[in-house]
């Protein structure tokens, strides 16, 4: 067992973990943050995407021990003061989800995408979503949600 200290959604957690434990399992099993879903075993689907030190990563491809000393934001940590993040709201407004299983990872990916490119073109949005698979929506309403969110988000000073 190895001791790790990981800050998740602003709270620091210390845990003893097996070296082989995935970050996705750490979040779900150790911390009960089950919003991070697991949809595949080859890092294709992107359902488990979280922000690791503000960069979107697939948490099934990171070991918990690798995240030692880092800061993680999961879907549960995105809303603040009871207010939805603009990307969350955009997915709701534009019907960007159906079964909801890929949605947490999809939303986190879009947060990262818009941080790096606040006003993406359609092509940039579609390429930016390439690491995330949705079986329900045909992506159409997800693309619309990203545009809606981009318009709604405050410009960085």
């Amino acid at each position: 067992m190895t001791q790790v200290s990981i800050t998740v959604n602003g709270t620091e957690y210390e845990r003893d973990v097996e070296p082989r434990m995935l970050l996705a399992h750490f979040l779900r099993e150790e911390l009960g943050l089950t919003g991070t879903n697991i949809g595949c075993d080859t890092s294709q689907c992107g359902s488990c995407t979280v922000l690791l030190d503000d960069v979107a990563v697939k948490s099934c491809t990171v070991l918990a021990v690798q995240a030692d000393g880092s800061s993680v934001t999961t879907i549960e940590g995105l809303a603040s003061d009871g207010k939805l993040h603009p990307v969350q709201n955009a997915f709701w407004e534009k019907h960007g989800l159906q079964c909801g299983f890929c949605t947490p990872g999809m939303i986190i990916t879009v947060v990262d995408l818009l941080k790096n490119n606040p006003h993406p073109t359609d092509e940039e949005i579609r390429r930016g979503l390439d690491g995330n698979i949705c079986r329900c929506t045909g992506y159409e309403n997800i693309v619309r949600a990203v545009k809606y969110a981009a318009d709604a988000m405050p410009e960085e000073a």
Partner: protein, 781 residues
């Protein structure tokens, strides 16, 4: 006028999903829970000579290791749809004598955590004697093919035929032109993004089992588990399917794991959890399609279609899954008339077994296979007759004035205006301009193609009597109950199940309008057999037309009882009262002030201080709605593609979907269903393939190898609608879940073949991968 029905409304279920609070089965954690893992066969076909579990049992943290000998008290996985003469081979939850596909089950481990359970799997020693395997739907019937089951000679589980043979033969004898195609409708893997999961908890004192499972139809699964497999009486078995992350048919069947997990929970006396990995899903979830077909179309020189004959070998995999034999029979041959008036149609089907994962319903289930045959043939005929693909379709459409229309393959179509759907699709796509641009592109040597798919679906299965006559073991009604509370709030219970479809929103829209109250006052409850006594679940685009109609009927009963109470309290004759669905009140005709509001009447029903003589207190109504007929959504989709001459890669440049799904409850959700369906059907046309090699190894057993559609594969998907209400249900709805998938597959294939036409390439089988197209282009040079 309705307040909610017909209005785009944001979904009420979304806040929990967008904040990571969905209640998926895999999220469940119970005190003292143990974890189950399944040892699966690496061989497609092998004798099990011995299984040694002793090393696995000794691993610290292992609670128990079990084989098929231990689970011999569990019943066989049953067939729930038995076409006449079907041979259903034995299928144990854990196999004891032979394994018949990669992923077949031989043993299971229960351990303290999932990691230990996986470690223990590696310590189970299975001695196999590998046998020759067969994977092809047709070759499996040939002499010398490996035999899967002793009691299924030639690997043919069932045969089926339907149509007016004489008329069909006559059409071919008298045809000016006969167009023939050999078609392979390849194996697909449904790939709902949530892998299946199950958690079971046994209460030894009450002798009650609770099973949380990822099912599209928990009530139906409960009946199967209780009556055929677990021996736990139905009233002592509770199934909960909470939020389910997509199904697409793969979560309809009753699965071995749904029996093994509760069996293990009782055995070890602890809650037990199993969660499938993606690779495990690829080799254990039921798969879709997999037809080998020879088809021919008879025509007159002017393009009039006179006959259609189809012979199909349908691959069922190694065993018969729950409704497997329905899919290539009554959901396939019956749809071969498409949108067309065809005097003679006949189809023969061989339902075969191979050393592959079992096959069952996958989005569309039989109907996409039928649409693909019809639309590829019609397109090929247009090319041979040098007709525009629009013109040949128009010429043969069933005219709007001829409904109800009886096809030669048993179905009676309800309503439609197919030419109207075509007009709208042509207009939205700018069809003439597309053709002009294509002509220009061709002059430049570019491979641009335009494809059309004009398709029908039989939705809302199934009138129970029809199901019984065709082989269904059960009925196909749906339940819908309303519990009006004393405070005027309403709990609506439905046997349908939402796993992405948005029933919590659309069903509330329906009930609110029927009762004239606010949506906020209505809760939709589904997926828990402790609350929903009986139900049939969600598949076949049936939820709204069958499940929604059940709720409409229950609302009628609620209104009727409220009218009786109002008549008594307002001292007016019943026939002089009006139920105002706008305001949610009952008033005396011509005297609107003499009224009782919904809330007052609900309260009165429960105080029971002043009810008419003989009227029971309470206000709860239930309905079992049995559909009078299928409904028939229809569509015309148009796509423009371009093929890269150097790489063979297909780019979709434009996609227009026009669908007539009858009356629409929530346009936002309907459009989402269409675009999602389109992407799934395009996936089949271009990329997806559940691919087995000759030895039966599943090559595409994870998402690295199984090519799923991604966002960048698509242009903006444009949608349009026409609205022809179905006369068969009180809502006038036809169903929208599968139409997009059905139409988009032939639309894209037709577009690609149109692009390749200048090279003289007439047909390629799906998926139309760059490599396949590139090779065809090289051979055509």
């Amino acid at each position: 006028m309705s307040k909610y029905v017909g209005t785009s409304m944001k979904r009420r279920e979304d806040p929990r999903f967008i904040q990571g609070r969905g209640s998926y089965v895999a999220n469940l954690k119970l005190p003292n829970m143990a974890y189950l893992a399944i040892k699966r066969s690496p061989y497609a076909h092998a004798k099990i000579k011995s299984i040694n579990t002793s090393k696995a049992k000794k691993l610290p943290g292992v609670v128990g290791v079990f084989t098929g000998e231990d689970t011999s008290d569990v019943g066989m996985l049953p067939s729930g749809w038995n076409v006449p003469g079907i041979k259903v081979p034995a299928n144990r939850v854990l196999q004891t004598d032979k394994v018949r596909h990669v992923g077949d089950r031989v043993a299971m481990v229960v351990a303290e955590n999932p990691y230990i359970a996986q470690d223990a799997l590696d310590l189970i020693e299975v001695d196999y004697e590998p046998l020759p395997a067969v994977v092809d739907a047709k070759k499996t019937t040939e002499s010398g093919a490996p035999q899967l089951h002793d009691d299924v000679p030639n690997n043919i589980s069932y045969t089926w035929a339907l149509g007016n043979k004489e008329e069909c033969d006559k059409a071919f004898a008298e045809a000016d032109k006969v167009v023939e195609l050999d078609l392979v409708n390849q194996r697909l893997i449904a790939t709902a993004i949530e892998p299946r999961a199950a958690v079971a908890q046994w209460d030894q004192f009450k002798e009650e089992m609770t099973l949380w499972t990822t099912s599209q139809n928990p009530n139906l699964t409960r009946v199967v588990l209780s009556a055929f497999m677990l021996g736990i009486p139905e009233h002592k078995l509770r199934l909960i399917s909470p939020d389910v992350g997509g199904g697409f048919g793969s979560k309809i069947p009753t699965y071995p794991e749904e029996a093994l997990v509760p069996w293990a929970a009782r055995k070890v006396g602890r809650p037990v959890k199993w969660v499938s990995s993606r690779s495990e899903a690829a080799m254990s979830d039921t798969q879709g399609r997999d037809h080998v077909t020879q088809a021919k179309l008879a025509l007159k020189n002017d393009g009039t279609i006179t006959g259609l004959y189809v012979a199909t070998w349908a691959n069922n995999g190694a065993y018969i899954s729950l409704v497997a034999s329905l899919i290539p029979t009554a959901f396939y041959i019956t749809l071969l008339s498409g949108l067309y008036k065809i005097p003679g149609i006949y189809g023969d089907v061989w339902g075969t077994l191979t050393n592959t994962v079992w096959v069952d319903a996958y989005r569309g289930a039989g109907r996409p296979e039928a649409a693909y045959v019809v639309e590829r043939l019609v397109d090929a005929a247009a090319r041979e007759l040098n007709m525009d693909p629009v013109e040949i379709r128009r010429k043969n459409f069933i005219p709007a004035g001829e409904f109800p229309y009886q096809t030669p393959v048993a179905l009676q179509y309800d309503s439609g205006n197919y030419a109207g759907v075509m007009d709208k699709a042509l207009e939205l796509s700018g069809y003439s301009a597309l053709r002009a641009a294509q002509a220009e592109a061709r002059k430049e040597g570019r491979l641009v193609g335009i494809g059309i798919g004009a398709c029908i679906e039989a939705s809302g299965p199934v009138p129970s009597k029809v199901a019984g006559a065709l082989g269904g073991v059960t009925g196909f009604w749906e339940s819908g109950g309303l519990r009006v509370h004393a405070t005027g709030k309403v709990t609506a219970l439905t046997g349908a199940h939402t796993h992405g479809q948005g029933h919590e929103t659309t069903f509330a829209q329906i009930v609110a309008d029927e009762l004239g109250i606010s949506m906020e006052d209505i809760d939709i409850v589904h997926g828990d057999t402790a609350v929903i006594t009986n139900g049939m679940g969600t598949y076949g685009s049936r939820s709204t037309s069958v499940g929604g109609s059940a709720l409409v009927r229950s609302a009628e009963k609620v209104r009727a009882k409220m009218m009786k109470i109002a008549a008594h309290q307002l001292e007016a004759p019943l026939e002089e009262l009006v139920y105002d669905k706008e305001q949610g009140k009952v008033y005396v005709k011509g005297v609107p002030s003499k009224a009782k509001a919904f809330g007052e009447l609900a309260f009165a029903a429960y105080t029971a201080h002043n009810l008419p003589e003989g009227l029971e207190p309470g206000l709860e109504e239930d309905t079992y709605y049995d559909p009078a007929n299928f409904t028939y959504p229809n569509s015309v989709h148009i796509a423009q593609v371009e093929i890269d001459r150097d790489t063979g890669e297909v780019t979709i440049q434009k996609y227009v979907a026009v669908d007539d799904v009858g009356k629409v409850i929530n346009p936002l959700i309907v459009e989402g269903q269409v675009t999602g369906g389109v992407a799934q059907g395009v996936g089949q046309a271009l990329w997806e393939h559940g691919n087995y090699d000759e030895s039966g190894q599943l090559i595409s057993a994870n998402l690295l190898e199984y090519a799923m559609p991604h966002a960048h594969h698509f242009p903006p998907l444009e949608t349009g609608r026409t609205e022809t209400p179905s006369p068969h249900n009180p809502l006038g709805v036809k169903g929208v879940g599968e139409m997009g998938t059905i139409a988009s597959t032939p639309t894209i294939v037709n577009a690609v073949m149109d692009a390749l036409a200048p090279l003289g390439i007439k047909h390629l089988d799906m998926p139309l991968t760059p490599e396949k197209i590139w090779r065809a282009m090289q051979s055509a040079k």
